[in-house]
Each structure stands twice: as C-alpha cells, then as structure tokens.
Amino acid sequence: MSLFVILALYTVATAILAVRTETLTYSALWLAAMLIGVAGLFLTLGAEFLAVIQVIIYAGAVVSLILFAIMFAQHRGSEPKPGSNRARGSLLALFFVLILSALLSGVGPWRVLPEGREGFLELGRTIFKDYLLPFEVLSVLLLAALVGAVFLAKRERLVAAGSERIGTGVQSQDQGQKQGEGDQAQAGAGAAEAASERGAEGKERGKGVS
C-alpha cells in the first residue's frame, strides 16, 4: 500500500470518528488526529510549509480553542440530543459521495509534478511580492476577528446591554449614553443611530468639561 492510501484511510476514519463520537472532547481530539492526517497528505504533495502550518495552527491552536470552548460551555446534562433529521442528512451525504466520486473518477489523468521548485523561498516570494496586499488585508481581518471574539465572549452585562438596545429600538438618550460603547462595536448598528450616539457622547463630554 502506498503512503497515500494509508493516509487517506486514516484521514477518512478519523473524520468519521470526529463526526460520530458523542462526547465533545473526544470529538475534538479526533478532529486533531484528522488534521494531522491532512498535514501528512500535504507532505505527500510536496507542500512542507503548509503541512507545518496545518499542524501548528489547526491541530495546535484551533483544536485547543475548541477544547477551551467545550470546557467553558459544558455542564452535566447539557449535552443536546442528536438531531432529528439524522436519516435524511446521512442519505444526502452518501448521495454526495457517490455523485462526486462518479464525476471525479472520470476526469483527466492528472499527476502531481515532481518537485521542481524551491519550496519555501518561492512561496515567500509569492506572498510578499505578488500577494502582499491580500496578506496585509488578512492580517487586519485576523485582528478584527480577535477583537470581535473578545467582545463576544466578554461578560454577559456588556453583551446583554447591546442586544437589549437593538431589541427595543427606541430609547431615551441617557440610556444610549450608557450603552454607547458596547453598541459601537456591534456591526448591526445603523448609521443614524451611530450619529445620534456620537451627538450624545459629545454632550456628555461637554458636561464633563463644564
């Protein structure tokens, strides 16, 4: 058996286990196993850098994030029951496998080219010469996601205040002042609302000075 077949079987088996295991923690650990299998597949394709990134970011960071979330958000008896549309979903997925395999097995004799490139060097050149702007945009996006994640996972008070405001719609100004900070971070706030908030804040500042 070739390396590819072994890795493919391993990856598929761990993916099924990740999906089917009922205990969430084990499911996340199976996901880590699957991600390492995918990293191995990247290695067989000659993408060493991606394999390393896959292990560090996916199997390292994302899985530990998921584990932390599980430990935060679980107590005894809170496990939900399995979905009611299990049979339909399973059938649909099976159908998907059959269709895709039938379609793809007929397509062209593709072969992976032997390594004719300088790996890391070439990739670095591509990122920092041709795709510098998308790379920078991506870093800004990561920062935004980080700030958003911190905001969302903050204490109840702040989040609740924000959603309450959105829910009631019309509110007196002094309440708006109190909750202005939380609302500004919320993407859903309309422009007019934001403008009125800014006005309210200006008044507040004026009071502080006088």
């Binding site: 999906v19 960071a61 991506l138």
Partner: protein, 100 residues
Amino acid sequence: MVPVSGYVILSAILFSIGLWGLLTSRNGIKILICVEILLNAANLNLVAFSGLWAEQRGYLFALFSIALAAAEAAVGLSILIALFRRVRSLDLGKVRHLRW
C-alpha cells in the same frame, strides 16, 4: 506518484463526511468541528491542484484559508460561549431568539 484525482476524491469524501455531521448534529461545537472538516477538504483540493500545476498560488490560497478558518473558529466559538451564557445549552435547536 498518486494521480490528483485520488486526492480530489479523498477530498470529496472528507467534504461529505463533514456535510453529514453538519446536517445530523445539533450541538454548536460539533457543527464547528464539522465546518473545520469541510474547510480541510477544500484545502486539500487547493494543494493538490497547486501540486499539479507546480504553482504557488494554490498553496497561498490554502494558507489564507487556514488563517480564515482560525478566525472563523475564534469568532464562532465566542458566539457559542455567549449563547451558552444565555440559553445554558449548546443545542442550536433551542435557540429561538433570532427566529420570527
């Protein structure tokens, strides 16, 4: 060497497994795990075709996709934690705030 169609079929199988889990589970974190599987299937495709053409762009896209997946996981999990504080459950069937 393994033909690329092998990788593509494997990716299709992984995608279907992820889809299966996505459709059959109601636990929020389980759904996020399945989304990760889906994203990995897509990445595998990108890398396989990048190897086919001896191109760097597919690797680059896979790299970007990994970064986006990390961002998605962070935001998704924090949403789930915020949701858990409210509903005391991860069951997405119980979340009715956004329905009308």
